[in-house]
């Protein structure tokens, strides 16, 4: 059985029991995903890297706290989410940096293309997202940009699925209102 054929959960069991060096495979699997996710909270590359490193270290230290019956990806996203929120609270500042195409995901859902100049759409969405309360923002980020299901968001944010739906709906409405402001 090759390393790549192991599921995340099997990999965690092996790391815990016998082979700590396999943790590099976890880092490889999640580094891009978490960079993508954390970029929604940190514009500064160095800040992002610091947080990312802390996430991987905390994940490793607490591997025994992970229940292998559950989904590892939700667990590591949860740690990343907590770390990002703590970092933002500590430094009292937050920023959003969308990838070039990501604003289109928001546009698909809200159809804002007709209302804003395409060139400023990305910037406008970034600014609008910053203005939204963090509890709505994090749900929107996970749903739109990380393409997580309600169930996964529920596991990451540790809130009921019905609350996830409410946060996304309210967040979308707030975002729409902010985008429509002249």
């Amino acid at each position: 059985m090759t390393i790549s054929s192991l599921t995340d959960e099997q990999l965690v069991s092996t790391i815990r029991e016998s082979n700590k060096e396999l943790y590099s495979e976890i880092i490889r699997r999640y580094q891009n995903k978490l960079v993508h996710y954390l970029r929604k909270f940190f514009r500064d590359q160095y800040e992002l890297e610091d947080v990312l490193q802390e996430v991987f270290i905390k994940t490793y230290r607490n591997l025994y706290a992970f229940d292998t019956e559950k989904k590892f990806s939700s667990w590591i996203y949860r740690i990343a989410h907590n770390e990002a929120i703590n970092h933002i609270k500590k430094n009292r500042r937050s920023s959003i940096s969308l990838d070039d195409q990501e604003w289109e995901l928001v546009d698909d859902s809200m159809n804002i293309k007709d209302k804003i100049d395409l060139n400023i759409a990305k910037e406008k969405i970034e600014k609008a997202l910053i203005k939204i309360k963090i509890k709505y923002r994090e749900a929107l980020i996970l749903y739109f940009f990380e393409q997580k299901s309600y169930d996964e968001i529920s596991d990451i944010l540790q809130i009921p699925k019905s609350t996830v739906g409410t946060l996304i709906m309210r967040g979308k409405n707030m975002l729409k209102e902010l985008l429509e402001e002249k």
């Binding site: 943790y23 490889r28 990312l52 490193q53 490793y60 230290r61 529920s154 540790q158």
Partner: protein
């Protein structure tokens, strides 16, 4: 960007290999889980017990009976209300709910449902406990100087304290307008010459009475008086018997 990624991977793996970053022992997590679980169970059991004691207090003390005197009984009702029991019960329910919320065991369910279920479970279990004699045993224990007695005494003995505006106890002597009453704490003189309503049954020594009125320099001026069955105020009844013994004159009289 790729070299930065490799740097992070390399740095973390170096820290792991060198032992700078270590796995926390599984026993630490086990101990944490056990600790949180035990704290939850303890707070839940205590909340149930305190609710049961609250019911016991309301049933066996004079507290609720003061309300039957209308406005005159409000002061004595408030004075004899088991605030400590109620506050402890509420705090314990909050602690249980807080542990559930913080531990995220049941985050899939809305917290309101959990809170309502928790309160419902505690109340129901407290009611079921009234079919046992746990509260009686605790009350008995509260008279002892052992640890359990010292812990529970402040919660229950409010039911036996002196009241402002009210007296409950056993009639010891009846001199026409002046009654001598044995209360759980002391002997009180009560002037019943100004009662708003006359008492139908005779105030023979040995009967238990509840009186509302005003304390006037050691002599209690009764406004309303009611004869009460011993079993309606068992806590007071037991405390009076414990302090003054059984009443032989009354027994002779009733024969």
């Amino acid at each position: 960007m790729n070299s930065e990624k490799n740097n992070i991977e390399q740095k973390i793996m170096n820290d792991i290999k060198s032992g700078k970053v270590k796995l926390r022992s599984k026993y630490i997590f086990l101990a944490e889980k056990l600790g949180v679980g035990s704290a939850f169970i303890l707070s839940l059991l205590l909340a149930i017990l305190f609710f049961n004691l609250l019911l016991f207090y309301l049933k066996t003390s004079d507290n609720l009976a003061y309300l039957s005197f209308g406005n005159h009984g409000v002061a004595a009702f408030l004075d004899s209300f088991p605030y400590l029991l109620v506050v402890s019960f509420v705090i314990l329910v909050f602690v249980s709910a807080y542990i559930i919320k913080q531990s995220n065991w049941l985050y899939k369910k809305p917290f309101v449902y959990l809170a309502v279920s928790l309160v419902g479970f505690v109340i129901l279990s407290g009611i079921v406990l009234t079919y046992t004699n746990i509260a009686d045993s605790i009350e008995e224990e509260s008279y002892n100087s052992r640890l359990a007695g010292n812990i529970f005494r402040p919660f229950l003995h409010r039911g036996l304290g002196e009241r402002h505006g009210g007296i409950v106890g056993r009639v010891m002597e009846n001199d026409g307008d002046l009654l001598t009453i044995q209360t759980p704490r002391s002997v009180k003189k009560v002037d019943i010459s100004n009662l708003e309503e006359s008492v139908v049954k005779p105030l023979v020594p040995g009967v238990f009475v509840m009186i509302v009125g005003n304390d006037d320099d050691g002599l209690f001026q009764a406004v309303k008086l009611r004869i009460i069955k011993e079993q309606e105020i068992q806590m007071v009844n037991k405390a009076v018997r414990r302090r003054f013994g059984s009443f032989t004159i009354h027994n002779t009289y009733s024969k």
